[in-house]
């Protein structure tokens, strides 16, 4: 290997090393984005809006007979008369009586 070849080879190695470094940084950045997404997702839950309406909660609030919820509410001391089922079930949920 003459002096010129020696320096050319060294240059290529240096360039490869820099490229690898850049790639690593790029991948790390992607990874951080993924972690950030997960952190953002932690705050998101179907339950954030579940009791906003019957459209969100029908699988619970409308699927069962109202007397089921009235029985549960009476046992939990929750008032039922002239109240929407949605409101009763929301109170049951907040009281920790569901699931």
């Amino acid at each position: 290997m003459n002096r010129r070849t020696f320096f050319q080879a060294g240059e290529r190695q240096a360039i490869d090393a820099v490229a690898a470094c850049v790639e690593e940084v790029a991948q790390l950045r992607k990874g951080l984005t993924a972690v950030a997404q997960e952190v953002l997702a932690v705050g998101d839950s179907v339950m954030d809006s579940f009791f906003d309406s019957y459209e969100e909660s029908y699988s619970l609030t409308l699927a069962y007979p109202r007397e089921f919820f009235e029985q549960m509410a009476r046992a939990a001391g929750i008032h039922c008369d002239e109240r929407e089922t949605l409101d009763i079930v929301r109170d049951l949920y907040r009281a920790g009586k569901l699931g």
């Binding site: 984005t33 993924a34 997702a41 019957y54 699931g99």
Partner: protein, 350 residues
């Protein structure tokens, strides 16, 4: 996120990621969607959708047992009324290869033994042709028949929601709850993969699981929902009971899954007129479902015949079943001649 998962997420294609069975973070609130890959088709065989045979008896059991918030393991259930929910899911990959999964394992072991024998599930479990049980949730009618599965393969992999209670895992390890009539004499020896509600878990390309941590009665919470992405057709949801609500599931796919803008259909219980009750607000759910323009809706179990008939009349593409269910030894007291349910022994291909 575990370091291994973190590293796997770096620069990997969706296909490679799904092959590895990794999790994708839920992209809610972020800019990107999860790519769950795609499959060519999905075939679902209804092994049993009759969890119980008489609604009045089931309702009475709940009421007399202390009400709908009572721990399901303490209710003296009428054994004669119990059946179970279970389905065979066959996934055809883009290369034409096929994988079979068992979704849920029913309730009454005698019933489930009959069902599994009738459909050859017992042999598929024993041979390893089915090597994974996808448990939708921990309700008795989807889970308590676990012995019927484990007796053929105690090492089967189980993917379930992480919202279990101690009794659920006790039953899995082998236990008996005499009052409730739940029993398993074959301890599970395989992998139990518990899915949380923060990620989308890839099973195979085109098939993924998302857990929704919603409240459910009888002291159960959380349901695993199967999302399938059928190439060129769109997203299909496969549910045990659909406790989060179908519209919520479609909305979730739209916001979080690549290809989720295109809804193709659904299979399973949709949790609407469960006891054949009708509420005018159910009409809004029909309109809501229409807005997603599904092409194929296979429903049964807790959907309620009343809702399915109204949905079909309203133009939703409800897939009609056959009379095969009449050849089973027991028939649901609410089954109707309209055949709007895919019921026991029926199949649907997406």
């Amino acid at each position: 996120m575990k370091r291994r998962t973190f590293l796997k997420c770096l620069g990997t294609s969706a296909a490679a990621a799904t092959a590895a069975g990794v999790v994708f973070p839920t992209a809610v609130g972020a800019q990107s969607k999860s790519d769950i890959g795609a499959c060519r088709s999905i075939k679902v065989t209804v092994l049993s959708e009759t969890s119980w045979f008489n609604n009045d008896v089931f309702k009475k059991d709940i009421t007399d047992g202390g009400g709908a918030s009572t721990n399901q393991y303490t209710v003296p259930w009428n054994r004669e009324n119990s059946g179970g929910y279970s389905a065979l899911i066959e996934v055809e990959a883009l290369d034409g290869s096929r994988r079979k999964f068992l979704m849920d394992t029913g309730w009454n072991n005698d019933w489930m033994d009959y069902v599994f024998q009738r459909h050859g599930i017992d042999k598929m479990l024993a041979s390893g042709e089915i090597d994974t049980l996808l448990l939708s949730h921990w309700h008795l009618d989807h889970y308590w028949g676990i012995e019927s599965t484990l007796k053929h393969n105690p090492k089967i992999k189980i993917i379930a929601p992480n919202t279990h209670y101690p009794e659920d895992l006790q039953l899995l390890k082998g236990a008996e709850f005499k009052v409730a009539g739940a029993k398993n004499t074959v301890p599970h020896q395989g992998e139990l993969l518990l899915v949380d509600d923060k990620t989308i878990h890839a099973v195979v390309p085109g098939l993924a699981i998302k857990q929704f941590d919603v409240p459910i009665l009888l002291r159960v919470r959380g349901e695993n929902v199967i999302y399938a992405n059928i190439q060129g057709k769109g997203i299909v949801t496969i549910t045990g009971c659909c406790h989060p609500g179908l519209l919520t599931l479609y909305n979730f796919a739209k916001r979080n899954i690549v290809g989720g803008d295109q809804t193709y259909g659904c299979y399973g219980g949709l949790h609407l007129s469960l006891f054949e009750n009708w509420d005018p607000k159910f009409d809004d759910i029909i309109k809501g479902a229409q807005s997603f323009k599904p092409e194929k809706m296979g429903c049964n179990h807790c959907t309620g015949w009343a809702w399915a008939e109204k949905a079909a009349q309203s133009g939703l593409p409800i897939v009609k079943g056959t009379d095969t269910y009449k050849s089973y030894p027991k028939i649901s007291s609410v089954a109707r001649g309209s055949n709007v349910f895919l019921t026991n022994g029926d199949t649907v291909i997406f």
